[in-house]
Symmetry: C2
Amino acid sequence: MSSTIETADSLYADIRRGQRRALARSLSLLESSLPADRELAYALLERCQHQPNPSWRIGCTGPPGVGKSTFIERLGCILTDTGRSVAVLAVDPSSRRSGGSILGDKVRMLELGQRANAFIRPTPSKATLGGAAPSTRDAIVLCEQAGFDTIIIETVGVGQSEIDVATMVDMFLLLALPNSGDDVQGIKRGIMEVAHAVVVTKSDLDAAASKRSAAQITSALRYMIPTASDWQTPVHVVSNATGDGFDTVIDALHRFFDNTRAATIDHQRRQQRGEWFDRVLSSEMLQRLLAMQEFRSACDVAREQSVLGRMAPSLGVHRLLDRIQMLITEVQ
Amino acid sequence: MSSTIETADSLYADIRRGQRRALARSLSLLESSLPADRELAYALLERCQHQPNPSWRIGCTGPPGVGKSTFIERLGCILTDTGRSVAVLAVDPSSRRSGGSILGDKVRMLELGQRANAFIRPTPSKATLGGAAPSTRDAIVLCEQAGFDTIIIETVGVGQSEIDVATMVDMFLLLALPNSGDDVQGIKRGIMEVAHAVVVTKSDLDAAASKRSAAQITSALRYMIPTASDWQTPVHVVSNATGDGFDTVIDALHRFFDNTRAATIDHQRRQQRGEWFDRVLSSEMLQRLLAMQEFRSACDVAREQSVLGRMAPSLGVHRLLDRIQMLITEVQ
């Protein structure tokens, strides 16, 4: 235990000094399922200090082929040019199921990765219990401790993770393909509803198509409830290749993170942290119980009875928990 | 306890004899948060016998003004005319927040309600912990025990509950308004994706508009992954006022519940019951823990620290659970 304390102290000091290798190692600890690694990760989180100047936490999602990495690379380069320090993290829901990573070992964001004030976490975790998302929230905190004032979370793959990412960032960007079809191109409405800005890419290929897409999305947004009462979701048109339109995106970031909106963002973060606490509480509680052989066996039997329809699931759970109720009342 | 057994025995016998008042009282027990009522409800569920002929479990949702109640009334009347017995239950997510009910005391489904082989639960619960949905699953089981072979679940209000309902029925119907606009009229895509049939209502008002809507929805469905590999989601056009088009809906129900699909439906129900078990397990486990004063206080402190940003939520939960770990290891 004392070695954990020493290691955590020196690792934390290295992170605060801005050492990339210490940060990278810490992020791996967050993703590890080894008990010793997890204990060290928690010890690190315990050391984290309050950050007086909140960073920009930006989420970025979009359908395959929309050019997320290229968009983030260009955006990151512009931001670092103007003095910001940018950390890019990836959330890959597919790793949960397949154990593989879409990104693989592909070299990404070459230019941004070479900058002194940028940090890219290229490969999402394969080992995380319960998907990459849980550790990503803590990874944001560690990157901020390392001095990064802009954290970009890139979602890889599709599905629930996009909504998960929306609950861990301040501003959520949705990238969309230029498309002249009359439907909103397979974008899930749920995603549109949580976006703070929509960016139509590839304006260099067919400027007219991009504009039509932007108009359609603007019109679709009219039917939706705004994400925040003091913010109207803009729709931008950009080219990752030429850089056209990025000035409007940067402008939107500045407007979003303007001092006048600080209270709104702070309120949103508090809410996110409360909801996250509740989610981690139920899942970790259950994980700890299921780690007990006796509980696990009783649970497996009750679940099987429920699945087979021999017992209502609510009854199965109720009786199971009745049997371990002593356990609970003992401490009271 | 012995009185619980006696009451449960006689109440269950009355349900099996098809007594409506016994069924209605049992459904109230499921919705009650009083410990004695809940114990009686669980005792009832314990008595439920395996049903050899599975019922039709049908969910029904749609935007406000689409005519859900009128649709269900007409559908229910046609089904009872052909010898089926129909129970209608409502799930009202709004009751969770406001404590009120959209339906209020409005008299609904007058004609269906008077039929001998129909049962309507008019007012959704206001007292249920965690929304109406949890008790609805058990209510389905009790209605089946009372001999109903067709259970229709009507969602009132919008949001997550619609998806919840989809996870408790075999077949999910989505009602849609005729609309000549070029977007899919505010229907959440997530809902379309879980629908087994879409029904455009009000064809008596503007037959052309209804047909255009149906065509748009059919085209939108093409971009979506089918809900079941052996089922193609049909789009129907009906008039609740004249009854036009209901024959096509009835035909779809028969095709859906055809014997050849029995294995698919059975598989889906098993999966639903397993997922439901998991959800009830985490929520009831947590409820029992939070009922302990000592745990509750420690939890409140940790949550507040997390919300204020003084501690990462994952760390807060971890340390909280470390403190009650003894509790868990004691039984091992």
